[in-house]
Symmetry: C2
Subunit: 246 residues, 2 copies
């Protein structure tokens, strides 16, 4: 997970990775944000926030992966979001957390205490505006995922997830859209199942099927090569598609 040294990651000099908060900020606003930020590290598997907890910060992921999940009393769980580097966590204006947030790899977050952050939102319209934009993006992504959960077959679901991760990976790697792509799956089969509303057995079977049909190739369990992205998108049953960027 090539964790960057923390000194390289801050609001003033990493607007791309840190686009969640900073992309549109003016430099004096950046300095103001810098003055209230701090870093936190979590180990793989460690919970970051528990649903219903008081949440006294907002922030964005610097490195590592976290998941947002909801759980029913009987243990059925559904992942409702995947947090990759640069994604934002937090609900300005809300007290409690609505989901469980768990680090699935070692993870570093750049945090802002909630109170001062909210005060800044009032004084610097750029931040509030950017936050609205981000929330609209997440809403689009969540609704796109509703189509996946409600109407797609297991095979299409897997293909959709792979496409999202591939696209997301590509956007971090400058150079843009090539036809062939290779990336590491940041999720266990069980986590994929929780994302897709399937069982881990079905995920495993469909991965095998896609491999047999040449849609993907696997090195080990986690490293995926997609020989032809167009092919994968077709399997996913969608071409338009704005992606699931959270």
């Amino acid at each position: 997970m090539n964790a960057p040294t923390i000194s390289h990651i801050n609001c003033a000099d990493c607007p791309i990775r840190h686009r969640a908060v900073c992309a549109r900020c003016e430099s004096d606003e950046l300095a103001a944000l810098d003055s209230i930020k701090y870093y936190r590290s979590y180990e793989a598997g460690q919970p970051i926030i528990w649903s219903g907890d008081q949440m006294n910060f907002v922030g964005s992921v610097v490195s590592g992966i976290a998941t947002l999940t909801q759980t029913m009393e009987d243990g059925r769980t559904q992942m409702v979001g995947l947090l990759l580097p640069s994604d934002f966590v937090g609900r300005p204006g809300r007290d409690g957390a609505a989901y469980n947030v768990v680090a699935t790899t070692d993870l570093v977050m750049c945090c802002f205490r909630k109170k001062p952050f909210e005060e800044m939102m009032v004084t610097t319209p750029h931040i509030a505006h950017r936050l609205l934009e981000m929330t609209l993006d997440e809403l689009d992504a969540a609704r796109e995922w509703m189509l996946v959960l409600g109407r797609k077959t297991a095979r299409e679901k897997i293909a959709s997830l792979l496409a999202i991760i591939a696209r997301r990976d590509a956007s971090l790697t400058p150079g843009g859209a090539v036809n062939e792509m290779t990336f590491d799956l940041p999720l266990t089969r069980e986590a994929m199942a929780d994302y897709l509303g399937l069982t881990l057995e079905t995920v495993s079977r469909q991965m095998s099927a896609l491999k047999k049909d040449g849609v993907i190739a696997l090195e080990g369990k986690r490293r995926v090569t997609v020989p032809d992205m167009g092919n994968l998108l077709e399997e996913a049953g969608d071409d338009s598609d704005g992606g699931f960027l959270m």
Copy 2:
């Protein structure tokens, strides 16, 4: 659908029904909003916006029901939102619509042309702030619905939908939470199926089953009585639950 006469519905004197935009606005801001608003009527079945269309207004539902849907090329469709009176439609800062919006009953909307509305957002922080809050609510609702779509059984899905509509209805009827409730289903079985990721036959069967088991009673096809809301919530497999307010 007891459509109110239009003269009774405007931003200055109906803050409750119209809470989408007005709840927190100061009176001079209300006047400003009033100056750019206009009304539009749609007939049952009429599309309001087509996915991908340019969208030159935002607004909120005054009376009637509309649905947000996504459709795959082969015709599978998933409803991603249900718009009831007071709900907001629109994506300030975005050009194209992301979903199909269709009036399922005769419908009246209170609209604001997008450009002036966006200008007002810049000058009146209350509006921008309120909009962020609403978008966060919708995001929560969408994510809650992901759990329904991904992990609940057909029976639980139906119960969840009935619970949402009942709760929503109750919040419009002052008097608050009683144990017994009666309301009209604003959706056909097919629309329910599209919301729940089921077929209309399954919806019909599960409605019959819930009726046979005394969880609900039906007068005709559409009028539903819930003798015990607690019971229904238990069937839905959830008690906490913030509802699906869109």
